[in-house]
């Protein structure tokens, strides 16, 4: 700014340099603005500190190896208590797997339809409607997962073969919840594939279907990967749907008909159970929370890196 012109030392420009576009009082405003921006940095530090401080307390009681040992159950209710986190991770992976099995084909189909088939006016109308699915409070989906999907559909359909609380009912509603994420992020990726490539394919006598699947889809694949990672991060972090409908029995299984417990489900259970501060139950909340935070953080960062690479490839 004004400091660039340091060789000039005439009075006027010296004065201007002293007060570059600023009045008394504005320095205070500047400080306030910087403080505002600092809040988000402080939040990150606070999250990391809070999670890891108490997680360290947990690992004083329970060894790291015990926590990550496949052979151990997650059994915190009665002695001998055992904190093998893989059962909770398995629950999270379980709902992630099945919700993606449902949401991926539908979400990508929607993205392809909106990007390659829909008339601009249809798209303007359909996209906000689809995005409304992401705006529905998750407790509403939780209620539907339990009362509608599980009670009214899955139980009559499978009877004894499925438990009342099951991973599938939660996965169905999780899939509905993340549909717009997959559809809209993938659609953005496909829309940024250059028009040239579509024209080249059409010029060679490709049909719309072939252009969409053989040219646009492969060209947008990294953006689509980012969409999938973001969707997975959302599923992993979602709490209400799994806490209500998937059950509360830690279970090392990937079957959709069984009752399970996810990491978030366990955390909510501890919060409802009024665990006393300092107990292993209480600190286990932070250990699981820290693991959850690391997982979602890694997914989000990976998605951002992929998106940035993808943008560079087409700029």
């Amino acid at each position: 700014m004004a400091l660039a012109n340091t060789t000039d030392s005439t009075g006027l420009s010296h004065q201007m340099r002293k007060r570059p576009f600023r009045r008394p009082g504005e320095n205070l405003i500047m400080v306030a603005l910087v403080l505002c921006a600092a809040v988000s940095i402080a939040t990150t530090f606070a999250i990391v500190f809070v999670l890891f401080a108490d997680a360290i307390g947990f690992f004083r009681e329970v060894s790291f190896w015990h926590f990550f040992n496949f052979a151990n159950d997650w059994q915190t209710l009665f002695d001998p208590r055992s904190f093998g986190v893989w059962e909770l991770v398995a629950g999270t992976v379980n709902v992630t797997l099945w919700s993606m099995v449902i949401a991926l084909p539908l979400g990508l189909a929607a993205a392809i339809y909106l990007s390659e088939y829909a008339h601009p006016q249809t798209r303007r109308f359909l996209k906000p409607l689809l995005e409304l699915l992401a705006g529905v409070p998750t407790v509403v989906y939780a209620y539907f997962a339990l009362t509608f999907i599980s009670d009214d559909i899955l139980l009559p359909l499978f009877g004894e073969n499925i438990s009342f609380f099951n991973s599938l009912s939660a996965s169905v509603m999780l899939a509905v919840m993340i549909l717009p994420t997959i559809a809209s992020v993938s659609e953005d990726a496909m829309a940024s594939v250059p028009r040239d490539l579509r024209e080249a394919a059409y010029g060679l006598g490709a049909t719309r279907l072939e252009v969409a699947f053989r040219v646009v889809f492969p060209a947008a694949i990294s953006g689509i990967m980012a969409a999938i990672l973001l969707a997975i991060a959302r599923v992993i972090g979602e709490t209400m749907i799994v806490a209500v409908a998937a059950g509360s029995t830690p279970n090392l299984t990937l079957w959709p008909h069984e009752s399970i417990q996810t990491m978030t489900g366990y955390m909510l259970q501890v919060a409802l159970g009024d665990a006393a501060r300092g107990t292993t139950d209480y600190t286990s909340l932070f250990a699981v929370g820290a693991l959850l935070f690391v997982m979602t953080f890694a997914l989000n960062v990976a998605a951002q890196i992929i998106v940035r690479r993808f943008r560079e490839a087409y700029e």
Binding site: H119, P120, P194, D196, L197, R198, E199, A200, A201, Y202, G203, L204, G205, A206, T207, E210, R214, V215, P218, A219
Partner: protein, 291 residues
């Protein structure tokens, strides 16, 4: 489909009648529009075109000869690219366009009922202004058309043959697996030509194929165009008059003026057009007085 096509001459009877030697003058009203000898590859008459309500072509009519190079020249905005894209129905892909008139390819009305644009584009290949190889290997770029068409012959031979015809084989035969995007601009454009040739088209449309290339790469493409014209009908849009003079047998000059957008001013054998233009506006343009 989002286009409205109003064919003024859609019936089969009339098509047959046209084949049985109707006088050509009916299609080419102006005395500055030459009718090339022989049976034309394309026969265009009374072609009007609108983007939405904006007219882009007005009463264009000309015959494009077979196995010759025809250049479309004119200042930007004159409609030459639009005309080119009418020949393989690429304009269908733009929402809200209207096409009126008659475009015949050999005997068939390109906009006739039942005509499939995919079939049209398979026979009438296209090369674009900016080289646009797919982000795939050289091999897959050339094989694309064959793969979507379910080609049953020897794909390796087809790829090699097409690359040879496009004068690219010697430069890339060592590594067909490398990405098409790794090639230089001129090589990319020849790859795009090879890709079009692999479809075994009758016609190749080229939309300013050299405008993004350096002079040496441009010369190579121009040589290639000359060479290909022994077997293919080629229509090339260019705003480079020297290029039109170098590569084409026939030249069409188009212009948008205050009253009429996208009109065909003059159409003649290239030599004649550049030595004794029949229209003052053509002369002004080729002597560089505007455009």
């Amino acid at each position: 489909m989002s286009i409205r096509v109003r064919s003024t001459n859609p019936t089969d009877d009339e098509a047959r009648e046209a084949l049985q030697g109707r006088p050509a003058e009916e299609h080419v009203p102006s005395h500055n529009i030459t009718k090339p000898e022989g049976e034309p590859a394309f026969s265009i008459s009374d072609l009007n075109f609108w983007y939405g309500t904006k007219q882009a072509l007005t009463n264009v009519g000309l015959d494009i000869p077979r196995k010759k190079v025809t250049a479309l020249i004119g200042p930007s905005g004159c409609g030459k690219s639009t005309l080119l894209r009418c020949l393989n129905r690429m304009n269908d892909l733009i929402p809200g366009v209207t096409i009126e008139g008659n475009v015949r390819y050999r005997s068939a009305d390109i906009y006739g009922p039942g005509v499939d644009p995919v079939e049209v584009r398979r026979r009438i290949g296209m090369v674009f202004q900016k080289p646009n190889p797919f982000p795939k290997s050289i091999y897959e770029n050339v094989a694309f058309g064959a793969r979507v068409n379910g080609f049953r012959g020897n794909l390796d031979d087809l790829v090699e043959g097409s690359l040879q015809r496009a004068a690219l084989w010697d430069e890339v035969k060592g590594d067909l697996k490398q990405s098409g995007l790794a090639l230089s601009g001129g090589q990319q454009q020849r790859l795009c030509i090879a890709r079009a040739l692999a479809n075994n088209p009758d016609v190749i449309l080229m939309d300013e194929p050299c405008s993004a290339l350096d002079p040496i790469a441009t010369l190579k493409i121009e040589d290639l165009i000359r060479e290909l014209s022994t077997d293919y009908t080629i229509v090339v849009v260019t705003h480079n008059m020297q290029q039109a003079a170098r590569v084409s047998d026939y030249t069409a000059f188009m212009l948008t003026d205050e009253e009429i957008t996208g009109q065909l001013i003059e159409y003649a054998p290239t030599e004649m057009m550049f030595t004794q233009p029949g229209d003052q506006r053509t002369e002004d343009y080729i002597s560089g007085r505007f455009g």
